[in-house]
């Protein structure tokens, strides 16, 4: 197993005057070179956790370890971390070259050497032509690269990225995400990435840690977190549209919209669960059909969403009543009280 890069043990952080912990007992371990994404809605404590790892906030309880050493109480500069901020936080009065070279000044590196390394970092991100400009003369995407170059130049042991793509417009965000992934693959530095955007999380993360109210609800590879959510929060936070939850004697039956399909296209009829869907409305979204309707026959009547891929061409109309089915392997079960996933329950009467 690869060496531990960053570890957080039972970390708690409470701000002055707050009545609850912003980070409430978090345990995380990342391995060398891993891309870990902290995902959660705003106010869930993900940025606080990142800032505590960076040393910008001091932990109220628990430990932060970087490279195996406890770094609680050490200032950011002693932690060998680099951070990219949501706003990029470029120094507006400094040129791009000066911005990138700035972290090296603190390391007492000679001026010529500083410039050489800054040019190397700029080269990796393809921004050499911009070195003499001021940040205000750059586009959003260019600023983001400068911020990355400034983080990279010190060759830190960990990258901490705080929603670095959220200030870009939607079109640019997709390509920037791709570049970010390639960049990390090339550099191979351990990265902790904070976002509220599940597409970014799924696309970038080796593992995703889903946070809510200061706690980690689930941590695992994107596919596992998506397909096998630990509780109803993760189930409904991830996925667009989210997982359908149907109440059925004391527990909840969950299934992803893409797994609820017209009965005649669900293969393995013997092991699937059939129910009637009263279709209320159909949305046509980039090839897929999102079918909104009321589902009867699994548990309580519930509004659900079915997502039909373009390959399913069964004609459907608003107001239709149709048999829909879900393969049994795609069913998940949650405790109705705690919301936590439970063992499969019998679904046939």
């Amino acid at each position: 197993m690869a060496a531990l890069a960053v570890a957080v043990r039972n970390l708690e952080k409470r701000y002055h005057g707050a009545d609850r912990n912003a980070v409430d007992g978090v345990d995380i371990e990342t391995t060398e070179g891993e891309y870990l994404v902290l995902l959660g809605p705003s106010g869930c404590g993900k940025t606080t956790l990142l800032r505590t790892i960076a040393g910008l906030e001091q932990a109220t309880a628990g430990e932060v370890l970087i490279g195996g050493n406890v770094v609680n109480g050490l200032p950011p500069r002693a932690r060998q971390v680099a951070m990219v901020f949501q706003s990029y936080a470029l120094y507006p009065h400094k040129s791009v070259l000066q911005n990138i070279a700035f972290p090296l000044k603190a390391e007492k590196i000679h001026k010529a050497e500083r410039e050489k390394k800054a040019r190397w970092a700029a080269g990796l991100l393809g921004i050499e032509p911009l070195l003499d400009r001021k940040p205000r003369q750059l586009s959003g995407g260019e600023r983001q690269r400068v911020a990355l170059a400034r983080a990279l130049v010190r060759e830190p042991s960990v990258f901490l990225l705080d929603e670095p793509l959220s200030n870009l417009d939607a079109k640019l965000r997709a390509s920037a995400r791709d570049e970010l992934k390639q960049f990390q693959d090339n550099v191979g530095t351990t990265t902790i990435y904070v976002t509220h955007d599940q597409a970014e999380a799924m696309g970038l993360g080796d593992r995703i840690a889903v946070m809510y109210e200061g706690r980690i609800r689930q941590i695992g590879p994107p596919r596992e977190v998506y397909e096998d959510p630990a509780d109803t929060f993760v189930a409904t936070f991830l996925g667009s549209p989210p997982m359908n939850l149907v109440k059925r004697d004391g527990h909840l039956v969950g299934f992803r919209p893409e797994n609820l399909l017209p009965a005649d296209v669900v293969e393995g009829n013997g092991s699937s669960l059939t129910a009637r869907l009263d279709i209320a409305r159909i949305e046509y979204l980039s090839g897929d059909r999102h079918v909104y309707g009321t589902l009867r026959g699994i548990g309580e009547e519930t509004r659900v969403i079915a997502r039909l891929p373009a390959t399913v061409t069964v004609p459907l109309e608003d107001g239709d009543e149709r048999q829909f089915a879900i393969h049994e392997r795609d069913l998940r079960f949650f405790d109705a009280e705690s919301g936590e996933q439970t063992a499969p329950q019998p679904v046939r009467a």
């Binding site: 800032r51 960076a54 040393g55 910008l56 200032p75 950011p76 500069r77 971390v81 680099a82 951070m83 901020f85 949501q86 706003s87 990029y88 936080a89 470029l90 120094y91 507006p92 009065h93 700035f102 972290p103 000044k105 603190a106 390391e107 001021k134 940040p135 205000r136 400034r150 010190r154």
Partner: protein, 301 residues
């Protein structure tokens, strides 16, 4: 076609009417209290008007000739420059330090901010009288403390010796201006985004590097404006000087405004007083233009 409702524009909708209306109070204020006295002062400076004989006779540059021949005028000019430059240097350094203390997050910072502003909110006549006692030749508490601690044998006579009097005037004036400058600089410091300060921490910049490479350059335009205000206030101020020393001893603390007052009102020679006051005008104008231009250059981040 049905007519649109309220299609006729009212008087209040017309920009050509509203804009001048709203500007009017400011314009009246400026004309009555700034432009008119200024024109009057310039007119007086070229006349032989006195308190006893207010009839206006043109005398050309005679008044300027007279004040240029007056050694006290030159001494006052020199004092004004010393007074302004030294107190502004002190103000910038102290105000910057004070602003950094004020921006720190600690218990009771609102009380501290309030107390710090007090010297500025107290009328200068009151606070200068208080300082008069503090610096009194017999009863000075400062002397008493120094004597008790054994630093001095006998009283210092703060306002009685040339250099000490100047130092005292500068100290009191600095004490008065620092809070204002500190609050202006504080506003500048607050306007630096937290992310930038955090980025500097992550980038390993310590206190001095952050100060000289991040906060100072980013607050420079604000500091320049604070300095401009301070310099104008200092250059044209006579309150502290007049109450503490009346320009004495032997004109050692005489500044141009106090000398203009002494000549124009004290001796009744309005024309010469006006000439001294008007002499300040082009100097102030040049300084203001220079500072504002450099601020504009800095602001284009």
């Amino acid at each position: 076609m049905t007519p649109l409702q309220g299609r006729t524009s009212k008087l209040a909708d017309r920009e050509g009417f509203l804009a001048p209306l709203f500007l009017l109070p400011a314009v009246i204020y400026i004309i009555a209290l700034v432009a008119f006295p200024l024109v009057l002062a310039i007119a007086f400076a070229f006349s032989d008007v006195t308190v006893g004989n207010p009839s206006f006779d043109w005398v050309g540059f005679d008044n300027f000739q007279a004040i240029f021949d007056d050694p006290v005028f030159w001494r006052s000019l020199r004092n004004t420059v010393i007074f302004t430059v030294i107190s502004m240097l002190l103000v910038i350094v102290l105000a910057k330090a004070l602003a950094m203390i004020l921006i720190a997050d600690f218990r009771g910072k609102w009380i501290v901010r309030f107390l710090v502003l007090l010297p500025w909110t107290t009328p200068i006549a009151l606070s200068a009288v208080a300082w008069l006692w503090m610096l009194d030749s017999v009863y000075s508490p400062i002397d008493w403390v120094l004597r008790s601690l054994g630093f001095i044998e006998s009283n210092v006579y703060w306002l009685g010796k040339d250099t000490l009097a100047m130092a005292s005037v500068i100290a009191v004036h600095t004490w008065r201006i620092v809070p204002l400058a500190a609050v202006i600089i504080l506003a500048g410091l607050i306007s630096i985004p937290d992310d930038i300060k955090d980025a500097a921490k992550i980038d390993g910049a310590g206190f001095w590097r952050t100060l000289f490479e991040i906060t100072l350059p980013l607050t420079l335009p604000v500091i320049a404006v604070a300095t401009l205000f301070g310099a104008v206030l200092t250059f044209t101020d006579m309150g502290v000087v007049y109450i503490l020393t009346r320009g004495g001893p032997e004109n050692a603390t005489q500044v141009l405004p106090s000398y203009a007052f002494l000549k124009g009102i004290g001796s009744g020679d309005l024309a010469q007083g006006a000439a001294i006051a008007v002499f300040l005008f082009p100097l102030m104008l040049a300084a203001a233009v220079a500072i504002l231009r450099s601020v504009r250059k800095m602001e284009t981040f």
